[in-house]
C-alpha cells in the first residue's frame, strides 16, 4: 500500500482485522459503512455479496489489468452474468503433502491413480506408518478431501453444479464419492474428529504419517529451513481416466469493491494498482503465498511455492474449496456437521446424503 501511495499520491487507509472475526462480521460490515475496497474470496462466496447488492462490477478494471491473469483465474472472478467482480491477489493450492525423506527411505513412488494410491497406503501400513494424516475437529479441512474425490470422480463442472445447488446430494454420483471416501478411511489416521489439522500435520512432520491432503498453509507446522525443505506434495491422484486430474483446488484471495463506493475513481485506481505485477511482488515478498499475477517475480519463492505455481498454471480448472464454492450458510450449518456425521459413522452414507439434500432444499432458493 505504501508503494501505491508513493506512486499515486492518494492516501489509503488500511483497515486490518483478525481474519476469523472479519469473516464472521462481514455481513454487518458490508451493510454498515465499509471501506471502498475490501479483501475477500473468489468463487461463489464473492458472487454471493454481488448478488445481494453489496459489491460492484469491476469489469473495466479487468479490461486494463486482465492480461496479468490466467483464464482460470478470470473464470473464478466472474459472476453468472459474465462480469468480473473480484480481483485476485494470491492463492494457495490443496494437494497431497509428504516428506521426501520418508518416501526415499522406504522406496515409495508418487501415485498417479487411485489404485496406485491405495497400493501405496497398503505399503505404508505394512511399514508401520499411518498412511494418511487426518484432523477433522475444525470441520472444514475434510471438505478438501471431499472436493478432490468429487472432482476426480465426476469432474469440475459437477463440483460447480453440486455446490450451486443444481445437482442433488442424494444422487448416485454423490453417494459414489462418499463410498470411495469410506473405502479410503481405514487408511486415515484414527479418530479424526477430536484432532485439529495442526496436530495431524505434526504427525506428518514427525514421520508417523505418510501423507496429508491439505492446503499449502500446512507448511506453517514445519520449521523454516531444513524441516520445511523436507516437505513436498503431489497432485491428488486420478480416479477416472476420462476425467483426469487437471482440476486443482486453489482458493484465491483478493479484493472486491463495495457497491456505491465513496470515491469510485480512486477505488478503481487502487484496484488497478493491486492488479499489477508490482503489487503481487510486494505481497509475496511479505507473505509466502503464491502471487496470482502471471508475471509475479518467482526469484524469492521456495521450492514448494514454485511447484504450487506450476501445479495451478497447468490446471485446466481451479476450484475454490467447498466453503467458497457454495452458499456460506449451507457450508457452515449443513456440510460441517454432516461431514462429521459421515466420519463418525461411514456406513451411514444414505442417511447423510438424504439429510444433506433435505437441508439443501430448505436453504437454496427454489428455482
Amino acid at each position: 500500500m505504501d508503494l501505491y501511495e508513493e506512486k499515486s499520491g492518494i492516501s489509503v487507509d488500511i483497515n486490518a482485522t483478525d481474519p476469523n472475526t472479519y469473516q464472521e462480521q462481514i455481513n454487518s460490515y458490508l451493510q454498515g459503512n465499509p471501506d471502498d475496497v475490501f479483501q475477500w474470496f473468489a468463487g461463489y462466496r464473492g458472487r454471493f455479496f454481488f448478488e445481494n447488492g453489496l459489491a460492484e462490477n469491476i469489469t473495466d478494471v479487468w479490461d486494463e489489468v486482465g492480461d496479468g491473469f490466467s483464464e482460470a483465474f478470470k473464470i473464478a472472478s466472474t459472476n453468472d452474468a459474465g462480469q468480473q467482480i473480484f480481483l485476485p491477489l494470491y492463492y494457495y493450492p490443496w494437494a497431497v503433502f509428504y516428506r521426501p525423506s520418508v518416501f526415499e527411505q522406504n522406496g515409495y513412488t508418487i501415485p498417479e491413480t487411485l489404485d496406485e494410491f491405495t497400493a501405496l497406503c497398503e505399503e505404508m501400513r505394512a511399514d508401520g506408518l499411518t498412511p494418511i494424516a487426518f484432523g477433522a475437529s475444525d470441520g472444514w479441512p475434510q471438505m478438501g478431501t471431499f472436493d478432490y474425490l468429487n472432482m476426480r470422480t465426476h469432474g469440475y463442472q459437477f463440483h460447480v453444479d453440486l455446490m450451486a445447488g443444481n445437482e442433488r446430494w442424494d444422487s448416485d454420483e454423490v453417494q459414489a464419492v462418499f463410498e470411495t471416501w469410506a473405502d479410503l478411511l481405514p487408511y486415515h489416521q484414527e479418530s479424526p474428529l477430536g484432532r485439529t489439522w495442526q496436530t495431524a500435520a505434526q504427525s506428518l512432520q514427525r514421520g508417523e504419517s505418510g501423507m496429508y491432503v491439505l492446503g499449502l498453509f500446512l507448511n506453517q507446522q514445519f520449521a523454516e529451513g531444513e524441516d520445511r525443505e523436507d516437505l513436498d506434495f503431489f497432485n491428488f491422484p486420478e480416479i477416472d481416466p476420462a476425467i483426469g486430474s487437471d482440476a486443482v483446488e486453489a482458493p484465491i484471495d483478493g479484493f472486491m469493491m463495495r457497491s456505491d463506493p465513496g470515491n469510485e475513481q480512486n477505488a478503481k485506481d487502487l484496484l488497478k494498482f493491486l492488479g499489477t505485477v508490482e503489487a503481487a511482488n510486494t505481497y509475496v515478498g511479505i507473505d509466502a503465498q503464491i502471487g496470482a499475477h502471471l508475471d509475479t517475480d518467482t526469484s524469492t519463492y521456495d521450492a514448494l511455492q514454485l511447484k504450487s505455481a506450476d501445479l495451478v498454471r497447468n490446471a485446466a480448472n481451479i476450484s475454490q474449496f467447498m466453503d467458497r464454492d457454495t452458499r456460506p450458510d449451507f457450508a457452515a450449518t449443513v456440510m460441517i456437521p454432516e461431514l462429521k456425521r459421515f466420519l463418525a459413522n461411514p456406513n451411514a452414507i444414505a442417511d447423510v446424503t438424504n439429510s444433506i439434500q433435505a437441508q439443501a432444499d430448505s436453504i437454496f432458493p427454489k428455482s
Binding site: 469473516q23 464472521e24 462481514i26 455481513n27 458490508l30 451493510q31 445481494n52 447488492g53 453489496l54 475437529s137 475444525d138 470441520g139 484414527e190 479418530s191 479424526p192 474428529l193 477430536g194 484432532r195 496436530t199 504427525s203 456460506p328 450458510d329 457450508a331 457452515a332 450449518t333 460441517i336 456437521p337 454432516e338 462429521k340 456425521r341 463418525a344 439429510s355 433435505a358 437441508q359 430448505s362 436453504i363
Partner: protein, 320 residues
C-alpha cells in the same frame, strides 16, 4: 441474560413484614420523591425492555421468516412455522442439542451444585488450610469457560493428552475423549462442573458465614448430629442463598456455550442450543430466521424456569 432480582433476605419465614408503615411512607412522598422514584425505576425498566425484551420479541417474530440478514426488511419472507418444522424434521443437530441442554441442567442440578454446597459446608468447618482449599476450588471460576475448554483439551487430547498418557493407553487403545460423539458430552460436563462447583462453593460459603452460630449450638444441644443439623436447621435458614444458587445453576446450564465452541463449535455430539444459534445467525452464514427459531426454543425453555421462579416468589410474598 440478566440475573433476575432476588427477594429481600427474609430470615424469619414466619411473618410477612407489616404493611402499614409502607402505606404511610407512600403518602408522605412529595412530588419530587415521586419523580426521583419514577426515574430510578423507569430508566432500568427502559433498558431491560429495550435490550432484553424487544430483541427477544423480534427474534420470535423473525423465527417465522426466511431472511439472510442482508438487504432491506422488505426482503423478509414470511414462511409460518416452516423453520420449526425443519428443526424437528431435517436438522439432525436440533434434538441432540435440546437433550444436551437438559443433560447439562441435570448434571449441574444433581451433581455439580450439591457438590459445591458440600464443599462449602466442609470448608465452613474451618479445617486446616481452608484458605488454600478455597482458592484451589475457586480458581477455575476466575478463568473463562473458553480458557477452561482449552485447558481440558490439553488433558483430553487423544494423541498428546495428559489423561491418555496417565491411563497408559497407547496406539488404537487410546480414547478419543472429545472426538467420540457417544462420550464427549460427559467429559465436557466434567470440565464445566469443575468450574461450577467452585462458583457454588463460594456463594454458599458466604451464606454459611452469615448463619448465627447460636443456631448450630441450639441444634447440637437438642442432640442433632452434623447431617441432621445441616438438613433441618442450616439448609432451611439458608433459603435466600438456596434460591440464588438454584437460579445460577439454571442460568449457567442454559447459557453454556463457550466451552463447546472452543472445542468444536458445538458439533459431533457437543450440540447445544446456544451454539446452534450462533452458528446459524452470527457467522457469515446468516440463516437469521432459522437461527431465531432455535433461539425461540431456548427462550421457551428459559421461560419455563422463569415462570416457576416467579410463581414461587409471588407465593412467598403474598400474605398467608
Amino acid at each position: 441474560m440478566a440475573t433476575p432480582s432476588l427477594p429481600p433476605a427474609d430470615t424469619s419465614p414466619e411473618g410477612p413484614r407489616p404493611q402499614a408503615p409502607d402505606n404511610k411512607k407512600l403518602q408522605l412522598m412529595t412530588g419530587r420523591d415521586r419523580l426521583v422514584l419514577a426515574f430510578m425505576v423507569g430508566i432500568p425498566a427502559i433498558f431491560v425492555l429495550g435490550f432484553v425484551w424487544v430483541p427477544a420479541l423480534i427474534s420470535v417474530v423473525l423465527s417465522f421468516t426466511r431472511w439472510n440478514g442482508i438487504g432491506p426488511v422488505s426482503d423478509i419472507q414470511w414462511i409460518g412455522f416452516q423453520n420449526y418444522t425443519d428443526l424437528v424434521t431435517i436438522y439432525p443437530q436440533f434434538l441432540p442439542a435440546v437433550s444436551n441442554n437438559l443433560l447439562w441442567l441435570a448434571v449441574f442440578f444433581f451433581i455439580a451444585t450439591p457438590l459445591g454446597i458440600f464443599m462449602a459446608t466442609l470448608l465452613d468447618r474451618e479445617v486446616r488450610g481452608t484458605a488454600f482449599f478455597q482458592s484451589a476450588l475457586y480458581l477455575p471460576v476466575v478463568l473463562s469457560l473458553a480458557l477452561i475448554g482449552f485447558i481440558w483439551q490439553l488433558i483430553y487430547s487423544r494423541d498428546q493428552g495428559l489423561l491418555n498418557a496417565m491411563l497408559g493407553l497407547d496406539g488404537t487403545a487410546r480414547i478419543d475423549f472429545l472426538g467420540d460423539a457417544d462420550i464427549n458430552i460427559y467429559f465436557v460436563l466434567i470440565a464445566a462442573s469443575w468450574r461450577h462447583v467452585g462458583y457454588i462453593m463460594l456463594l454458599y460459603l458466604a451464606g454459611l458465614k452469615g448463619i448465627d452460630p447460636a443456631l448450630r449450638e441450639a441444634a447440637s444441644m437438642d442432640g442433632a448430629g452434623e447431617v441432621r443439623t445441616f438438613f433441618s436447621v442450616i439448609f432451611p435458614a439458608m433459603k435466600p442463598i438456596n434460591v440464588v444458587v438454584l437460579v445460577i445453576t439454571v442460568i449457567e446450564s442454559l447459557r453454556a456455550f463457550d466451552i463447546v465452541w472452543v472445542i468444536n463449535k458445538g458439533t459431533n455430539g457437543l450440540e447445544i442450543l446456544s451454539a446452534l444459534v450462533v452458528s446459524n445467525v452470527i457467522g457469515e452464514a446468516s440463516r437469521v430466521g432459522f437461527g431465531s427459531a432455535i433461539a425461540t426454543i431456548l427462550l421457551i425453555i428459559s421461560l419455563v424456569f422463569i415462570v416457576i421462579y416467579m410463581i414461587s416468589i409471588y407465593r412467598e410474598d403474598s400474605p398467608k
